[in-house]
């Protein structure tokens, strides 16, 4: 089965007629080309499905082993000492929430201002570009180095481990996400809204606070929630800024404090069955907190996209 094809001359003399084997175009598995393609499709699908196995396994283990101990006592009691039975992770939950709060406040204030600067004040300038580049570099900062940084500044300066130091370490990790998502959301507000505000005599500041930020709020909140989710799961920076405590927080911000992540790390090395079970239950609680923040962020960003009406 062959056909003669006369290529259309675009420039220059007409080319020689070429012979094309039409059977080459036949998608039958007997043809090596098609077979090769089919095999690669199968291989690729297998690789993709194998990649999903770990997630299923992690979730299954969390539900099975963590769910076993998930009850009110777990959420309200103090961690058990070695060899003891019972106990819970109450102080670690409080500690985790406190550190995320401290880190969140710091990084939201700095991050939203810096994001507004990149989106509005200095859209294309050199300093804006530098800030953007540095923010992107910070997203790749190893979390343990954020801990080292907070240790060298806050812990050595105040002389003690504290939620303040932990929060500063986490804020370093949350900051880039907030800067970059704030910039993106503020930029995506329509030009006609800016022009209308300026046209009515608003200053740039009034336009930002009264028009841009309220409009971009869902997008900004998405970024904040994703950043908090990342912060909640971080362990390494807390090892040298927060350490651990077996007791409830005494109500001031300057003492070693428990956190879920460090509790999981400590108990994972424990030889005692009870502590291992608690580590799994704490993992489940931690993953639930992180997932709630992540899913909340995604729901908001979906809404933001609909509100903006922009196809993405």
């Amino acid at each position: 089965m062959t056909a003669h094809v006369q290529p259309t001359p675009i420039l220059g003399p007409a080319a020689e007629p070429q012979e094309i084997d039409l059977a080459e175009l036949d998608h039958s598995l007997r043809r090596p080309r098609t077979l090769f393609s089919y095999c690669l499709s199968v291989l690729c699908s297998i690789l993709a499905l194998v990649a999903a196995v770990p997630l299923v396994s992690v979730l299954l283990m969390l539900v099975v082993r963590g769910g076993k101990r998930l009850n009110l006592a777990l959420l309200t009691q103090l961690p058990p000492a070695a060899g003891m039975v019972g106990g819970g992770i109450g102080n670690a939950i409080v500690g985790t929430l406190l550190v995320i709060f401290v880190g969140g406040v710091l990084s939201i204030v700095i991050g939203v201002f810096a994001g507004v600067y990149l989106a509005e004040i200095n859209r294309e300038g050199a300093l804006g570009g530098l800030v953007r580049f540095c923010a992107r570099l910070l997203t790749g900062l190893p979390s343990i180095l954020a801990g080292v940084f907070a240790y060298t500044t806050v812990v050595l300066w105040t002389g003690r481990f504290s939620p303040l130091a932990g929060g500063i370490a986490l804020s370093l990790l949350m900051l880039p996400t907030i800067i970059l998502t704030t910039e993106e959301s503020v930029r995506s507000v329509g030009a006609e809204m800016r022009e209308a505000a300026i046209g009515m005599g608003a200053t740039q500041t009034q336009m930002i606070w009264q028009i841009l930020l309220p409009t971009a709020l869902p997008g900004i909140l998405t970024g904040i929630l994703l950043a908090l989710a990342r912060g909640a799961g971080e362990t390494a920076p807390l090892l040298f800024t927060l350490t651990f405590s077996d007791f409830w927080l005494k109500g001031h911000l300057m003492e070693p404090t428990a956190s879920l992540a460090v509790l999981i790390y400590n108990f994972s090395k424990s030889p005692f069955q009870n502590q291992k079970e608690i580590a799994w239950a704490a993992s489940l609680v931690l993953v639930l907190i992180v997932l709630a923040l992540t899913l909340g962020g995604q729901a908001l960003s979906l809404r933001a996209r609909r509100m903006m009406g922009a196809p993405r």
Partner: protein, 358 residues
Amino acid sequence: MTAIESTSPREVIQPGDVGRAPSAREVTIDRWFRWATRILAGFSALLVVLVVLLVAKQAWPAIEKFGPGFVTSTKWDAGKNQFGILPEIFGTVVSSITGVALAAVFGVAVAVFLTEEFIPRWLENVLKNVITLLAAIPSVVYGLWGIFVVIPAIRPACNWLHERLGWIPAFSTPLVSVGMAPAALVLAIMILPTVAAISRDAIAAVDPLVRQAAIGMGATPWETILGVTLPMSKRGIYGSIVLGLGRALGETMALAMLVGNVNIMSPSFFSPADTLAALLANKFPEAASHLDLGALMYAALVLLLLTLVVNIVGELIMRKDIAGGSGMRKDIAGGSGRDRGPKRLGTLSRRHDEEVLE
């Protein structure tokens, strides 16, 4: 500052409040606010420099004492004041490269799988969310999972390899419990979402018309993928792998829990080892003397410079690529300032694609 609470612009605008020039007070506030954003933006850029400088300052006593020999010495003995991090550098590089190689193979396969219409759209969305979930699970949970699931699961296979193929240096020791193999495997799972998400965005950004042209000329799907789609998105894929490498180098908790934290340099994958980040996590709480701490800070500085270089290279690769800021990468890596032009082009042509198909 309170204006942000009023969600509707209508509430804050009073008659007589608009259509006039800003008052002197408003101009002053405007100037102050702009300075405030500039200062805080500059501060965030300064943070990168500050981190390097402060860690370097703490490391200075150790740098003065040990000099460059620190990175080539293999001893770490706080009692004798002997410090060296060659085994840790070796472990970091081996675990990262193994992990990234695995993650690259699987990650690019997932990216192709998600973009080439192998599966219905709804399943594609489910898988995309699954990968985002994979990225959201904290590293300490992966470590716990590695201890209780991965190690028991791979131990028989590893020991079988050791018994049969023990003459190969990579299999020359048995896997007792923790070691390089489980660490690298869990590391691969942890960076797979990064690689998959960025590669997916890069592949999705290839103009569908080019793909259709290849199909129209009689190419099979995989001839199109290997000959057209992947070459056109290779910059984004390379970028994703380099950024994944940056993550892998700095990953701490899962490795500290799985790699064994033993200061040895073995060619065997099944032997315990150590990485820079794991060294910091383990030794920091027990660092007693000033010099001890200095040595750890020196190790932190080496890790910092290593990851900074890798991340700068990754950013420079990505910067010129069209796949900067679309959907999945934002969900995982957290935002992107580059949402102009190319992405919109991508979405437009994708919609165009759907119209053509209908």
